[in-house]
Symmetry: C2
Subunit: 106 residues, 2 copies
Amino acid sequence: MIFIVAKFLVKPEHADAWPELSREFTEATRAEPGNLWFDWSRSVDDPNEYVLVEAFKDDAAEAHVNSDHFRKAQEQLPPLLQETPRVRNVVMDRDEWDPLGEMAVD
Amino acid sequence: MIFIVAKFLVKPEHADAWPELSREFTEATRAEPGNLWFDWSRSVDDPNEYVLVEAFKDDAAEAHVNSDHFRKAQEQLPPLLQETPRVRNVVMDRDEWDPLGEMAVD
């Protein structure tokens, strides 16, 4: 899978509404056959920062970036942001999450 | 660097306080010489889920898991969780984040 983490710094006036503003893009992406997950979370340190943890099957990236909803998001979302998002992505061998044994819950 | 993403499902009664409950561990980890970042964010879909995006220099993992604050967290945090956290980690070549060009902000 392709594992991606991105950080979006949203303009303060749009920060509370970001989940709603990105909902269409989020739902359309989650509906893609090759998407494994596409999950937003909001920084506890900076309420303007949203973290996006995504994963796609190895052959699904191209379909994602060439989709209508991706193109629409490219137009609609950047104007709501303070800066270009930051990202790291990597190809991983397996699709599943592992248990964090050091913090195991009995 | 060692890039780590973990998902913590916190018991509902502790979810709002999680940033505070994990602060000592967070601040001590961020003070480690080998830590690059250790950032919590709260899921927009499930308020009981917190996402931890961490990174350490290649040779810093051992110091982290053998630290006093890690051991203390191993005792204090699991009882506050609904289940064992999920994690993925991977060694990456560079320490920096890349710009997400597809969502570039002019």
